[in-house]
């Protein structure tokens, strides 16, 4: 077990290195010279050369990469090419909204979806189960902005509450005001993760339900509730944690789309801006942060899968 997890952590570390290579060299093939972009067309060649030396762009790529990696690890993400502000400052101003929306989505969306999924697994084949499956099958394939549009139409035009596009500052607002402020993005993301979570948690519990010891419990005459909560659920925890971590990792795309859709400032809109202005320093820094989050969640998913599987824990 420990050696398996250590091995997985090792693979995770190698993955992070590979990711940093992809991001660094991927942005290095950018046409145009960073120093030239920063100084503008009127700069003299001497100025550009001096500036290149200051940025370290005259060094070989591999040395640049190592310096960049060292800086990243020590928390220095460089200076934005577009706005001349340190990336860490840009992130400090923006991260709250992204973190707030993601954490609340997880806190609200995960328990509700799991509950619905487990309920569906308790009564498989019933009208409730089939209805839920139909809804989640439809939602799972729909793009985030479709869900968002439907919600906006519903909230703004049917219920006549909420604002379609989140505007105004969030400063000085309490937690509950913030929740109201971000109600639409959070609800959209909840729907996005719910569609997958309901399906997968239902499958995870049903999978356990078909094992022989459950059959044994049924034959012993154990009540349905007790079977689900004492026998099945405890063994389904591993797969469910796996499913939750996987879906939170997939949330990365959703967060980006939702931030652009509702037009509030966050890390995702920052990286999209970076792509539009070709600010590669910004893309490198933020890209690494997003990918790291993703890799860590995947790691948790895998470890949960190991931990829950007795056959993997005690290999022959």
């Amino acid at each position: 077990m420990t050696s398996l997890i250590l091995k997985r952590l090792g693979i995770g570390l190698i993955t992070v290195l590979a990711v940093s290579l992809i991001i660094f060299f991927g942005t290095k093939i950018l046409p145009g010279d960073a120093a030239q972009i920063r100084l503008g067309q009127s700069a003299t060649p001497e100025n550009v050369a001096a500036f290149r030396a200051r940025l370290g762009l005259d060094k070989p790529y591999i040395v640049q990469y190592l310096i960049w990696l060292k800086n990243f690890l020590s928390g220095d993400l460089g200076t934005s090419l577009a706005s001349d502000v340190p990336i860490t400052d840009l992130i400090r101003d923006r991260y709250q909204n992204t973190v707030f929306v993601s954490v609340l989505t997880a806190a609200i969306g995960v328990p509700i979806s799991l509950g619905l999924g487990i309920m569906a697994a308790m009564y498989p084949g019933t009208l409730y189960d089939r209805f839920l499956t139909l809804i989640s099958v439809s939602l799972v394939a729909a793009p985030e902005f479709f869900t968002a549009t439907l919600l906006v139409l519903f909230f703004v035009f049917v219920l006549d509450v909420g604002n379609a596009i989140v505007v105004g500052s969030t400063e000085g607002k309490g937690v509950f005001e913030l929740i109201a402020h971000f109600a639409l993005p959070i609800t959209t993301l909840c729907f996005v993760i719910a569609s997958q979570l309901i399906r997968m948690s239902r499958a995870a519990v049903l999978n356990v339900m078909s094992s022989p010891y459950i059959e044994m419990a049924i034959l012993k005459g154990v009540s349905r509730k007790r079977i689900i909560f004492r026998h099945a659920l405890l063994n389904a925890i591993g797969p469910i944690v796996n499913v939750v971590a996987l879906n939170l990792a997939y949330l990365v795309t959703g967060v980006i789309v939702v931030e652009v859709y509702f037009g509030y400032n966050g890390l995702a809109t920052l990286i999209v801006q970076g792509v539009q202005t070709r600010d590669y320093v910004l893309i490198q820094g933020l890209g690494m942060i997003f990918c790291l989050t993703y890799v860590i969640l995947m790691l948790i998913a895998d470890i949960a899968a190991y931990a829950s599987n007795a056959r993997l824990r005690h290999p022959k």
Binding site: L30, P143, V260, V272
Partner: protein, 307 residues
């Protein structure tokens, strides 16, 4: 007892006295029928494919033409001349939707075909090569898989800019890594089966084994997976376009149409310019999903479990 009898017959099937009913049972090849949800899927997909192909021919206007050149108000409600209203630049939403169909579906389909071309060749290639080569290819592939696809897309678009060929190549390359994994797993599963062993013992070449022994057995699961992959590619391309990093204006594409017209939601004007393209993508992907679900339920639901 029964099994041993079977094996006996199977070992010497060419002795002459074995009829085909005595060969090992194989899955009965039942005629595949769609359920009602499958038929809905087929109908909707056919509809959109026809629009994608013939859209530019039957569209009432060009994608950047103005239906009411004298009237400068945006987001107009539907009326004769513009049956779905007008968008933020007073253009006809219906015509743009029809032009956009070809681009969204065409790019996604081309990218998925490319992903399959690369993924299947590499995957089956890795499955039949030496363990060392297999491990190297798989590790590199895992690194790509462990990145959020949208991030890879963002990095590529930042580096080389966005154009239709770039979109196809990027999406194709990104999703090839997923196909690679499936093709490799299938290849390995089939590689250890008796008939492949037999072919190898007969001294068949590598290409013969791939094309005649492995491919026919891997084709069906791969086809179903193709549908799923197509859904993800459509969502990927649409998301990139929605972020303003995919198909570039003034060309129409469903994802970018949603982005262009987001303003309609805050002005309280006609919301059709946002709703129509979003609904188009959703109906298309959900319809493909219905077909895939139907087919995988037919093949024992194995596929939906694996994904």
């Amino acid at each position: 007892m029964r099994t041993s009898k079977k094996t006996e017959h199977y070992v010497a099937p060419f002795e002459g006295d074995v009829s085909f009913d005595e060969l090992p049972d194989s899955e009965p090849i039942g005629r595949f029928r769609f359920s009602w949800s499958g038929w809905i899927g087929v109908t909707v997909v056919t509809f959109w494919v026809l629009i994608a192909i013939f859209g530019p021919m039957i569209a009432p206007l060009g994608e950047n033409d103005l239906p009411f050149p004298d009237d400068y108000s945006e987001f107009q409600m539907p009326r004769p001349g513009a049956w779905l209203g007008t968008d933020e630049s007073d253009r006809d939403v219906l015509s743009r939707l029809m032009y956009g169909a070809g681009r969204t579906i065409g790019i996604s389909f081309a990218a998925t075909v490319l992903a399959y071309f690369l993924g299947v060749i590499m995957g089956i290639g890795a499955a039949i090569s030496t363990p060392r080569v297999d491990m190297i290819i798989s590790r590199i592939n895992d690194a790509f898989l462990s990145l959020p696809t949208i991030m890879l897309g963002l990095v590529v678009v930042a580096a080389v800019g966005s154009s239709i060929p770039v979109l196809i190549l990027t999406a194709g390359a990104i999703y090839a890594s997923v196909v690679f994994r499936l093709a490799r797993a299938l290849g390995q599963e089939i590689m250890v089966m008796d008939f492949v062993e037999a072919a190898r013992v007969r001294g068949e070449g590598r290409w013969w084994i791939i094309s005649r022994e492995i491919w026919p057995n891997a084709a069906m699961p791969l086809m179903t997976d193709f549908g799923l992959r197509l859904i993800y590619v459509i969502l990927f391309i649409s998301s990139l376009s929605f972020l303003g990093l995919g198909v570039q204006p003034p060309q129409a594409d469903w994802g970018s149409m949603v982005r262009e017209n987001l303003g309609a939601l805050s002005y309280g004007a006609s919301v059709i310019p946002v709703l129509a393209p979003a609904l188009a993508i959703a109906t298309l992907t959900v319809a493909i999903n219905l077909i895939v679900d139907d087919i995988s339920a037919h093949s024992g639901g194995k596929l939906s479990k694996r994904l």
